[in-house]
Symmetry: C2
Subunit: 297 residues, 2 copies
């Protein structure tokens, strides 16, 4: 196990279910930083698990969820968001006493509520969301430094054990991330605005641009430079975003309505040729962005 980081072991045995971009990067980072003794990858496709092992994301692997997780002190569920709870349910009875389970799902309210019902006595669930994805997927895109400087949100519910929360926080910090503790409902509202809505917008904008290109075949040619960057996230997996949208439908709907309302105000100002209202629309956006940059620097 490569080290280079003066860390001590936080969890002896870690099982990662779903060794893709996120799961693979967690495995790489944890192994390289010496905060785990052994990482077991769990998945269905043996070739991908072998690839994960070659890339140094895991020490070993298992295609059986129950036996694979049986020895784990920490299980990290990195499956697609709608498979988190079903995966948890399948392995629940084989978890050892004191085991901690966390996940990396993009939405948290549903998962935290349902996980609490599934977890056996003397095991602990801590909802998590490492905010370090990309439009890439798969273990080939995994990187040991993916979480350096990234925000790693932990979302305790009413039943979450505080010692378990603290230990997962220690683990996430040791991966290089900045841990934020947030209520699952507030998490889901916040990501609906800053992540899910932007993905919906990027897709909608591409659809509109496609329509415009059909009317005037030069639209794509004009849309060089910054437009390409802006719509990069429209390239993400439709299945992934279907599931994220479905597990955060109410907040995403509210966020869309919020955006529609703000844009409606701009339309009104344009209709009235209200110079001051139009300038103030752009001025507000700029001021809030300045505040945001100041706070997050």
């Amino acid at each position: 196990m490569a080290t280079g980081f003066p860390s001590s072991v936080i969890f002896e045995n870690v099982a990662i279910v779903g060794v893709g971009l996120i799961g693979g990067s967690i495995g790489m980072a944890a192994r390289r930083r010496g905060i785990v003794k052994k990482v077991t990858g769990i998945g269905r496709a043996e070739q991908r698990l072998m690839r994960a092992k070659i890339l140094g994301a895991i020490d070993d692997y298992s295609m059986d969820m129950e036996s694979g997780a049986a020895e784990a002190d920490l299980v990290i569920l990195c499956t697609p968001v709608r498979l988190v709870v079903p995966s948890l349910a399948r392995m629940a009875c084989s978890l050892k006493r004191g085991a901690i389970v966390t996940d990396a799902g993009s939405t948290k309210q549903e998962i935290v509520e349902q996980a609490d019902d599934v977890m056996p006595a003397c095991t602990f669930f801590v909802g998590g969301h490492p905010m370090a994805g990309s439009e890439q997927t798969g273990v080939n895109s995994a990187r040991a430094d993916l979480f350096e400087g990234a925000t790693y949100v932990l979302t305790p519910g009413e039943k979450t054990d505080l010692a378990a929360l603290s230990k997962v926080g220690e683990f996430a910090t040791a991966l290089g991330a900045k841990v934020e503790i947030l209520d699952p409902v507030l998490h889901d509202r916040a990501v609906s605005v800053i992540s899910h809505l932007p993905h919906a917008i990027a897709s909608a904008l591409m659809q509109l641009t496609g329509e415009s290109h059909r009317h005037s075949s030069k639209t794509f040619q004009l849309a060089a430079g910054s437009f390409k960057d802006l719509t990069r996230i429209a390239d993400s997996s439709p299945e992934l975003w279907r599931d994220i949208s479905l597990t955060n439908a109410d907040s995403l709907t509210d966020a869309i309505t919020g955006l529609q309302t703000i844009l409606e105000d701009l339309k009104t100002a344009l209709k009235n040729k209200d110079e001051q209202a139009i300038e103030s629309f752009f001025e507000k956006g700029r001021q809030i962005r300045e505040m945001y940059i100041r706070i997050t620097q």
Copy 2:
């Protein structure tokens, strides 16, 4: 005059009105490539013109629009978009026979229509839009390579002289840009979708994020990484975008309505928990983006 490019002179005397990011970059590129003999900067603030001269954007300058443009074979109006036609009107009578005037305004329909009414006999107007801005402004941000690989749209109207159009096209090509010829109305529709709407969206998204942050003070912390890139253009000048919006109000309004409608469909799909419609929403965006990348590569 620095050269390094095997070019010949296209216009002997060029006057640039408004020597900021775009005007300054045109001056730098034209001088460095040896396609002009002399560039005169025209503006109101002497210190900025002196700065432009020091930076190599112009050979000389004038604070008087009429005398500054009197000798020019090509006048390039790089003022804020709503000052293009008033500037043109002020210098019209002092233009020499055969002079060509072009502009760099972000919207074209209004300008092309009004410019044709203002131009004296035996002078020629060609609407232009070099699509190479940034959220930076001022001659200090100007670069001789700003137009390399950029799209430079020329928008002939019914009255545009084809020889003048061709010569401005030759000039833009010599700056390193890729010239596209487009009807002014189609130009304005296309940029409303690929530029003006994204700016409105970025501002609206920042406003919504500000609201979310007021409710849960962690929203900004969660909005790291790609969100920062996505909302970068919310940092643009409110005055600039007020004017661009006002001169393209109808197309921008249509683009906003188009986006609202597409997002409304997503809301309906979310309400009905229609998995297929939600997946197809994201799939459509992805497919169109693939097509767009293929075409613009």
